[in-house]
């Protein structure tokens, strides 16, 4: 009985290994169709080196083939990755598909492969070896999923730009996933050839690549068992129909097609989505003893950011002109100005996302040039939030913050493979660090909620927690209070002050002028890319240039004059009250606060627009 199915069961294992090769790239948000090309390269070249007798008398020929095939997969994937890794989405898929087809045509035209007639291989792989290989591969991906590397892949898949600003070297990790996929593909190629005893380059075609992709997606990429489930489902389906007496011909592919359609339409996470996930990564660890030892921050007053004449122009448009700026440890610098004043461009330059066109700048010891990488600055100690929220929406709140801790945690992949106790300790430290930040921003009870399901204000707070998890020296907040009511804004203001007390330098952009005057140590006002005022909040509130920028030309129109005086009085009143520990503004002032600025039109409906560029 079982013997009858030996071949089927072996093929399930091999197909699952192929699906794992797709899984390896899909978890990092990449779609590669080069897998079959890599597999066939590995299979055919291995025939050139696999000896007939054990090597040195004790190394089995298959072991030589596997090691060689996986090396070929790794090297070929790396070489292919060098030019194509910067492509995204469909473009990457098509480039890798072209590579696969080029390999196929190349191998068909070689004499040593016998071309399209195919090539014989000795039978070295049976059911046991296939399943042992699958178990090893699955084990590897199981241990990957809870490691820092696994989290980095997930972060890249969800939002590359946000991942970069956590200090993750996106290009390196994308290449890593590519190379891992190459190794698994090489393994698959060798095993398949030495199992089926025959291979012809045309078997490793586009259609086969699509089948592998379908297996991986049907199984789902949210859990490491996905590829196995997908392989079982798609391999057993035709066999089941045969046993049930369904006629060969058109009915079987029809039923398979319909079932595939049903799975993809109604099971968003694939088959593995049916398995409930373990909750361990969603539980807080509040024991302060578990938290990692962190290096001390720079002593208050140390200069962290120093910009001289920094400017950025797009074509003829000067987004930012010649800004001089310093930020010291432990101080809160506010950046205000009407919409389009260049505030976000300025902080993008400071965080390395936008290279400056003119001027010089040094941020945490790194100078800003066109070659400055955002992840390097993040590694140096910058963390930031975004005007348009960029969370990893499908990860839980706690997982988001743990990604933020990338900079201060250690990679645990190898330790987890060997089940070393230190792996568990480091992971607990990462959870403890993240838990502390979540609790600090008031999201302790929402740790297990997916970030995308949080309310708008909570998402803003979660972004701050994620930024704090990296233990930054400089924290950049881009409109953190947008969409918050005045009570929430008050709490936020308190939080920002407490961060500065800890010694963090905070650079904050915000349209809520009332909150800014109460929170910041210094304020800089930008308009049309130029600094029009800078100084203490009380002085800024009385500065005529600032009032004009916010209220338009004052002078001829009596109404404008009146409004300007009202706003000035309003601003002055706030600063007079208490610049420091009175952020929580009582009574119905928001209406007047809004009158202070035409730039106060933070628009939550467009800001929450999901932008899924994959």
């Amino acid at each position: 009985m079982l013997l009858e199915y030996t071949s089927l069961i072996t093929l399930i294992a091999l197909t699952a290994i192929l699906a794992f090769s797709f899984y390896a790239v899909l978890i990092a948000g990449q779609l590669s169709l080069a897998q079959l090309g890599l597999a066939s390269l590995a299979a055919f070249t291995s025939s050139l080196v696999v000896p007939a007798e054990p090597l040195f008398g004790f190394i089995p020929p298959l072991a030589v083939g596997i090691v060689f095939g996986m090396s070929v997969g790794v090297i070929a994937a790396f070489i292919l990755g060098l030019p194509v890794i910067r492509l995204r989405g469909v473009f990457l898929a098509i480039a890798t598909l072209a590579f696969g087809e080029m390999v196929r045509i190349f191998l068909i035209n070689q004499t040593w492969t016998n071309g399209a007639q195919g090539m014989g291989f000795p039978k070295l792989v049976g059911i046991e070896i296939a399943w042992i290989a699958l178990v090893v591969v699955a084990y590897w991906f199981w241990r990957l999923s809870g490691s820092r590397m696994g989290r980095a892949f997930a972060a890249i898949r969800e939002d590359e730009l946000a991942a970069t600003t956590m200090g993750i070297d996106v290009a390196r990790y994308r290449m890593a996933s590519f190379v891992i996929a190459g190794a698994v593909a090489g393994l698959y190629g060798v095993l398949l050839a030495y199992f089926s005893r025959f291979a012809d380059p045309n078997e490793f075609s586009f259609t086969a690549a699509v089948d592998g992709l379908v297996t991986a997606v049907v199984g789902g990429v949210t859990l490491f068992v996905g590829p196995i489930l997908g392989s079982v489902f798609l391999s057993v389906l035709p066999e089941l129909q045969r046993v049930l007496g369904v006629n060969a011909g058109w009915i079987r592919p029809t039923i398979s097609g319909v079932l595939l359609l049903v799975v993809i339409l109604f099971l968003p996470g694939g088959l593995s989505g049916l398995i409930p996930r373990r909750k361990s990564a969603k539980r807080l660890i509040t024991d302060p003893a578990v938290r990692p030892d962190l290096p001390p921050l720079a002593s208050p007053g140390t200069e962290l950011v120093s910009l001289q004449g920094l400017g950025k122009s797009y074509g003829g448009v000067h987004a930012v002109r010649s800004v001089d700026l310093t930020v010291n440890a432990g101080e809160i610098l506010g950046l205000i100005g009407p919409n389009g004043a260049g505030k976000t461009t300025l902080v993008n330059m400071v965080t390395g996302l936008t290279p400056p066109s003119t001027g010089t700048g040094v941020v945490l010891g790194t100078s800003l040039t066109s070659g400055t990488k955002a992840h390097r600055l993040a590694q140096a100690g910058i963390a930031r939030t975004f005007q348009q929220i960029k969370l990893f929406n499908r990860l839980s709140a706690l997982e988001n913050v743990m990604v933020g801790g990338y900079r201060i945690t250690r990679d645990t992949m190898l330790r987890r493979l060997l089940f070393l106790p230190s792996a568990r300790r480091f992971e607990r430290e990462a959870v403890a660090m993240a838990s502390a930040q979540l609790i600090r921003v008031g999201l302790g009870d929402k740790a297990a909620t997916a970030a995308g399901d949080l309310s708008y204000g909570d998402q803003r707070r979660l972004e701050i927690a994620r930024a704090l998890a990296s233990h930054p020296s400089l924290l950049v907040l881009d409109e953190p209070a947008a969409g918050m009511n005045h009570v929430e804004a008050g709490l936020l203001s308190e939080l920002i002050r407490s961060l500065a007390t800890d010694g963090i330098a905070v650079l904050v952009i915000e349209h809520n002028v009332r909150m800014m005057l109460a929170t910041c140590d210094r304020i800089m006002v930008l308009n049309f890319g130029e600094v029009i005022a800078a100084g203490k909040p009380a002085d800024i509130a009385r500065d005529p240039n600032v009032l004009e920028a916010y209220l338009g030309s004052s002078g001829s129109d009596a109404d404008a004059d009146a409004a300007s005086e009202l706003a000035a009085a309003d601003l002055a009143a706030v600063t007079a009250e208490s610049p420091r520990e009175h952020p929580d503004v009582p009574d119905g002032t928001p209406a007047r606060g809004e009158a202070a600025g035409p730039g106060d039109q933070a628009n939550p409906s467009t800001a929450t627009e999901p932008e899924d560029n994959r």
Binding site: V90, M102, V214, G257, V258, I264, L265
Partner: protein
């Protein structure tokens, strides 16, 4: 000259297939992998209609256009619309359209069997013409005229008509388009219908050119169409036209000068180079991300 003309004839069919492919990608940002099955369906249904009813070519094309359009609407409704709003709509759409294509192919197999089919002899004029020293059949000229006409009509439709404005609005921002009161669902359906109508006609014309159709013809063309739309620029209609012609010419020249076994290397080598050197293609615009 003979080579040049052969390349143009072949290229115009690639272009017609690719232009439908790229239309859906450019406007809805989805790659519809059922397009190849529609191509096959157009070919086989076309042969069936001619065999059974003996319709002339000028009647055959409109019928196949309608068949293709209906298939396109089905693809949109069944394989794409249920995925709207899902975070993995890209991957899922690839897979669901593959599944739809597989179902369509298996149904075609049920109707027409797995064997190669041909048009009945004498169904179409067999006249030959001499142009500048090269021999071409009247049929090839008709193929070229039909495909160029359809592509010009489509390009005009997208550029000038109200429907085309709606399509381009959706391409820019589907959410804003819905807010502006555009019926996004209906325009998406129409886009798929147009795309598939052209795909089906490309199938008929391809079969007319080589006079043989089997279940597998779609796959080879699909791969080449991917090359065409990348070379021309993803989503660009004129790009697909030029890309198709370039590929047709390159293939014919490659067969003649390098050998048929290396023919496909030309297409994929070209594709790979373009992706590395100019990912947006010859006519495509590069999209940038905002912070």
């Amino acid at each position: 000259m003979q080579l040049f003309l052969d390349g143009i004839f072949l290229g115009s069919i690639y272009a017609l297939f690719a232009i439908g492919f790229t239309l859906v990608f450019g406007i809805l940002d989805r790659l519809n992998l059922a397009h190849a099955a529609v191509f096959t369906a157009g070919a086989l249904v076309g042969i069936e209609i001619v065999t059974r009813f003996g319709v002339p070519i000028w009647l055959l094309i409109p019928i196949v256009l309608i068949v293709g359009a209906v298939l396109g609407i089905l693809i949109e409704r069944i394989a794409f619309r249920p995925l709207a709003g899902r975070h993995d709509a890209h991957f899922a759409g690839l897979i669901s359209s593959i599944a739809f294509g597989a179902i369509l192919l298996s149904l075609l197999q049920a109707l027409y069997g797995a064997d190669t089919r041909r048009f009945p002899p004498g169904a179409f004029p067999r006249a030959r013409l001499e142009i500048l020293g090269a021999t071409v059949s009247l049929l090839q000229v008709i193929i070229l005229v039909i495909s160029v006409t359809l592509m010009v009509v489509l390009t005009w439709l997208v550029a000038k008509s109200k429907l085309g404005r709606g399509m381009r609005t959706i391409a820019e921002n589907p959410h804003a388009a819905a807010v502006l009161g555009l019926n996004v669902g209906r325009i998406s359906s129409t886009t798929f219908a147009l795309s598939s109508a052209l795909g089906a006609v490309a199938g008929v014309l391809f079969t007319l050119n080589v006079n043989a159709a089997s279940l597998g013809i779609g796959h080879a063309v699909e791969l080449k169409a991917l090359a065409v739309i990348v070379v021309g620029g993803m989503g660009s209609l004129p790009g697909a036209l030029v890309g198709g012609l370039i590929l047709g010419l390159a293939e014919v020249l490659a067969v003649n000068y390098i050998g048929s076994s290396w023919r496909d290397m030309v297409a994929f080598g070209l594709l790979f180079l373009i992706l590395i050197l100019r990912p947006q293609g010859l006519f495509g615009a590069r999209k940038t991300r905002e912070v």
